[in-house]
Amino acid sequence: MLEHLINGLVLGGTYALVAMGLSLQYGIARIMNLSFGDTIIAACFATYILFSSFGINPIVALAIILPASYIVSLGVYRLMMEPLVKRAPDEGALEVDSILLTFGLLFVIQGCLLVIFGGGYISYSFMNTPVSVLGTLVSGNRLLALVLSLAIGAALVIVLYRTRWGMILRAVALAPKSAPLFGIDTDKAARMAFAIGGTMAATGGVVVSMFQTFTATTGVVFTMKALIVVILGGKGSVPGAIVAGLLLGLVETFVAAYIDPGLTLASVYTVFLLLLLVRPNGLFGKA
């Protein structure tokens, strides 16, 4: 029981970690980023190359990959998203545009990865060492994912709900048209939110690459898992993303343990669908 609880939280930590970035990008920058998972995979590959070809430890690699991904995301936003945001007459139009655009971006990233690395499975071993948590052996790298996601999540929640800067970000998320009247530079806020979201995707990628087998084409899986978590948590709600991520991790683990591993995903989706029916705006979403 305790063992499953811990395993579930550890698994959920990964989901939460991956989803928070998307929550920022979608909630604040209002970009429905279908290439989010491919950003994660790109970071996985970067970590793998740094590790296997240059012998750089993935933890150290974070110091290279995070700034790089921030800059790249910023560039992507400036270059591709900003024109769309500028021209969008309403939110619906921006949503459609961003879906189409990031769908294209997804293919570009995936295509580049395929050309450079081929389609094969990549996996390596780092921090795959057992750590005992209350008697349960969990792998170090997965534990790292949980710890990171809780730490980042806590930091984000504090920033968003306790600082003016966070309030500004939320204001942009909630009322982009009105925000300038408050003296808020909406472009800047959206840009930063998008870039931070991208950086968090990269963080997720670095950590995930340590334990998960990936290929150039597995990004979609992450995008979809992240979207599910974001939506279940409630659009734009960071605490929601964390709770939803952990919840799904627990559901998966308990179903695998007590019912049938064959039903893990089915039950994740069932829980997701049922909760949405009860709370049509997600766990933490506002009606």
Binding site: L174, A175, L181, T186, K286
Partner: protein
């Protein structure tokens, strides 16, 4: 002083504001009167940087501010309370107000100003934890004005502030605006409620189809036959 010089606003081919000259001094209340669609809102939006100015200039204390983005204008001391209020429905009253103090010029006074706003609109104080979108129309209008005051503006632009307010609140609000004005803020008000707005204004402009067709002090306008006919609706 806030000064519009031959300002033009266009929506596509449609010319909504056709070369207007308007000026407002600090501590002055100026009202713009005009029929629906005359271009009143467009003027305010253009000053606040919410729509582009097609031609002409806007200057603030003789420095040109034409074409500045809205958030910078707020920091220069221009605050707009737009039609539709421009507040954040899914935040609480207090958050909206505090967020109103985002411009650097307003930060230091945040607590004082908020006390002042609560003093003027006690209802907001009662409801400070309520989400704005669940409030009644009139309550939301109060939040909007309060939020604008939070940015410590030199010039406050109000687009039909009395719209949908109960008479008692309209009265209170204009009294409150009079207090705001006493703090040295210049007010540019667009109103349909001609009687009460002229009563509180120093000067006014008449706008017809995007052009200024008349101007004068409140008393002059109040007694002007054309104004009485068009805006004071004869006998009502």
């Amino acid at each position: 002083m806030l000064e519009l010089n031959n300002m033009l606003v266009r929506y596509g081919k449609h010319l909504a504001v056709d070369g207007v000259n308007i000026s407002v001094e600090k501590g002055e209340v100026v009202v713009v009167l005009g029929a629906n669609g005359a271009g009143k809102s467009s003027i305010l939006k253009a000053i606040a940087g919410m729509v582009p100015v097609a031609d002409g200039t806007i200057s603030l204390d003789h420095t040109p501010i034409t074409g500045m983005p809205a958030h910078q204008l707020t920091n220069r001391g221009i605050a707009l309370v737009p039609e539709g209020r421009g507040i954040i429905g899914r935040m609480t009253v207090e958050e909206n107000l505090r967020l109103g103090a985002t411009p650097a010029r307003a930060r230091d006074y945040e607590d004082d100003t908020i006390a002042q706003v609560y003093d003027i609109f006690p209802r907001l104080h009662e409801r400070k934890r309520q989400f704005v979108h669940t409030m009644s129309g009139g309550e939301q209008q109060m939040v909007a004005i309060g939020r604008a005051m939070m940015s410590k503006p030199d010039f406050l632009l109000l687009d039909e502030p009395s719209l949908g307010l109960a008479p008692i609140i309209v009265g209170d609000m204009f009294k409150a605006l009079a207090r705001v004005r006493k703090t040295g803020v210049g007010l540019l008000i667009v109103e349909q409620n001609v009687k009460i707005s002229l009563r509180h204004a120093d000067r006014g402009y008449l706008l017809e189809a995007g052009r200024i067709t008349g101007s004068g002090t409140s008393d002059e306008l109040m007694n002007d036959a054309a104004v009485r006919h068009a805006f004071l609706g004869g006998d009502i």
